[in-house]
Amino acid sequence: MNSRLGDVIINRHVIMLDISSHDIVIVGGGGAGLRAAIAIAETDPQLSVAVVSKVYPMRSHTVAAEGGAAGVHLDDDSHDEHAYDTVSGGDWLCDQDAVQAFVKEAPLELMRLEHWGCPWSREPDGRIAVRPFGGMKKTRTWFAADETGFHMLHTLFQTSLKYDSVTRYDEYFVTKLLVDDGRVQGVVAVELTTGKVQAITAKAVILCTGGCGRIFRYTTNAAIKTGDGMALAYRAGAPLKDMEFVQYHPTGLPFTGILITEAARAEGGYLLNKDGYRYLQDYDLGKPEPTPVLRSMELGPRDRLSQAFICEQEKGRTVEGPYGPVVNLDLRHLGEKTINTKLPFVRELCLKYENIDPVSQLIPVRPVVHYMMGGVHTDVNGATPLPGLYAAGEVACVSINGANRLGSNSLPELLVFGARAGRAAAAYAADQPSPSRRLLAGALEEDARLNDHYLTKSGGRERIADLREEMQRIMERSAGIYRSEKSLTGTADKLYELQERSRDIRLDDRGRLFNTELISALELSFMLEIAETMVQSAMERTESRGAHQRTDYPARDDHKFLAHSMVYRDAAGRPRVEYVPVTITRWPPAERVYGREMRNGE
């Protein structure tokens, strides 16, 4: 009955379980997770920190961020101006107390990263250089050529290797949060290599798992962005906030969805329709100038630029490419030298994936899903309403991004709130008793669930990829840049049907060892649930604000909706939406203006 250790054929009589214990568990090893780990290690080296990631940390999606990280730097800039740009960019849905704290700490965090070795691009005299960016009135975006996220992530990862108190669980997939006694006390994770199910207990858990772009058909996001942390928190009873706000980045490559950084426009790129016309001037984004003007035209906010694309498409003025409509990004006037110094990665990507040299040719681009403004609801210290549960980075919604995030705000967000959540979790953990070993039962249940629902289940007719592709198609078509009650209701019904069908999934891979098909099935289940929360939140917000545009309710309604949507999972597993007001401290809601002065003067 007892199988030899080494005989890996599934044997119902031997279940591989394990339990380990740390003071704090961080789920996700990207920018926010690593920053949180370092913050804890520096605050209190006695605390043992576990970083549990389904991929090796240097594979985390932070690595793909390109353009830059904003932090007030020049003398003519101020924290208030950065805050105002962020608040107006977010269409007044940002919590202003959080934004004010964020803009103050952002430059300090970016400087700390410089001390840790991040190769920020420099002025000739050796000072940190900054570049203009979309939606920002002043120049304040720090950058490392056009691979800022890559350099930040590797700097954080390599620096984290210094600390003995940080233990990494590489390629462990977290399937569930362990909740006991009303507190989150750890996670259950599958070790990919062996299939072992492990309970990793802790006094506090920080979710840093990123967003969920893979719910949509076209996205800049990597395969791993499947909303894991959001679903884990949601299922454990924590609310998700502002889930209807999905950011489309205006310039992604067609077919692959690969990101062409906003920095290309910041350096002076133009967006042209099929007539070679800079069409953004028709959408109240200012007048076209030969060089970039801050907060105007191509440096407008991402939601407005993406919406302009859809309008151009409806007017028949987009270029019909082999993968659907595109517009052209023109970098030719920048010259080879500028492109090679400031945008080398853009050039490499265009050459490789489109066979196009931006130095002499136009780049076809279209809006693609890029970022989730919404996420797990937290306060300014990363704490969720569930005791012991924290969140930071794209998975969280503090909210500093409101209804639309400005480019180059998300990288400093990782650092500022990663550090805050780390410190807050450390302070909380200091007062908590050690988790009980009976939490191993949670691992046992999860193991049984994986067997019963996936590995040893007989029958099943659905393929994971079919369900996933259907979800992506319907979300893109009906819950994309423009939504309506009709399109959303249809989507909700379809998602419900997909969830039913997902109970009938058949896996080809029924083993335990490195079963990535099982992981895909678990990720699909996370994504379907999150998609449902997005659609429900979008249906109930009957206004248009920032990235959430309703064709049936085109105006912003501050009277009813100057509030965050909070979605809870009810007893039947369905989403229930409530509203909490936005925190306004200094800037009352005003008209959101780009490319011109406000009509009543500012």
């Binding site: 890996v8 000072r127 590489d170 080809d508 060892l513």
Partner: protein, 246 residues
């Protein structure tokens, strides 16, 4: 161009197999498709048990290193049409133990990376609100070595690592050089102590294959030879100059 192409994939499941075998699949041949698209097509629609690592699909995360027709490549940056009419042979990266199908055990590299001390080492830190000035010329000194995405194609190409896995390897040494050359770092002698030995820089025989396969043009071979020059100079200085003098 033909409309389909055959992919021969190495398969290995420790639960069933004593050694790796090969499965053949036929997939569409589209001009924009990379090897990764073919693998995903197989996994999604033909055989869900095919196991491989991937994430960003744009050549920056370093997950999808594999042998394509015997050459280490990133699956997301290798176009199928370059191999038409095929077949295309896809195998796990050489010189690493195979865990499953195309997935190899890379934990050895993580250990070696830590040994290179890839972080800024300084005796005295500047205050946190002041930057270390670093001119573009100083940045250029190490920028190339900082581009490493840890894809480990260089290890798959290095015969020394294949013959002796004690060898620290191209990427780990190049990353040590990245910090040695960083004007903000003061840890060069500490790293030299741990890398100036037969498992470190002196194990390298300058095949140069690592540089040939590197998708980010890091030139690890160049980094190691430059490091050897530095090490030799330091040794000479230590011989010639009295102890303690610099």
């Amino acid at each position: 161009m033909a409309s389909r192409i055959t992919i021969e994939v190495a398969r290995y499941n420790p639960a069933r197999d004593h050694e790796p075998g090969v499965n053949s699949y036929e997939v569409p041949l589209r001009k924009e498709w990379v090897v990764l698209d073919a693998l995903n097509c197989i996994k999604d629609h033909l055989d869900g048990s095919l196991t491989f690592r991937w994430s960003c699909r744009m050549g920056v995360c370093g997950s999808c290193g594999m042998m394509v027709n015997g050459v280490p490549k990133l699956a997301c940056a290798t176009f199928l049409s370059d191999y038409a009419p095929g077949p295309v042979r896809v195998e796990p990266m050489r010189h690493f133990p195979i865990l499953r199908d195309l997935v190899v055990d890379t934990s050895d590299f993580l250990m070696k990376l830590a040994r290179s001390k890839p972080w800024i080492i300084r005796k005295v830190e500047k205050p946190m609100d002041q930057e270390y000035f670093q001119t573009p010329a100083q940045l250029e000194e190490y920028r190339q070595f900082s581009m490493c995405i840890n894809c480990l194609l260089c290890y798959a190409a290095c015969p020394i690592y294949g013959l002796d896995s004690q060898f620290t390897g191209p990427a780990a040494i190049a990353l040590a050089q990245r910090y040695n050359r960083d004007s903000r770092d003061e840890g060069a002698s500490e790293r030299l102590d741990s890398l100036s030995n037969l498992e470190g820089i002196w194990g390298c025989m300058f095949f140069g294959e690592c540089t040939q396969v590197c998708p980010k043009h890091v030139d690890p071979a160049g980094a190691i030879q430059q490091y050897k020059l530095t090490a030799a100079t330091e040794w000479l200085k230590a011989m010639v100059l009295p102890r303690g003098a610099k």
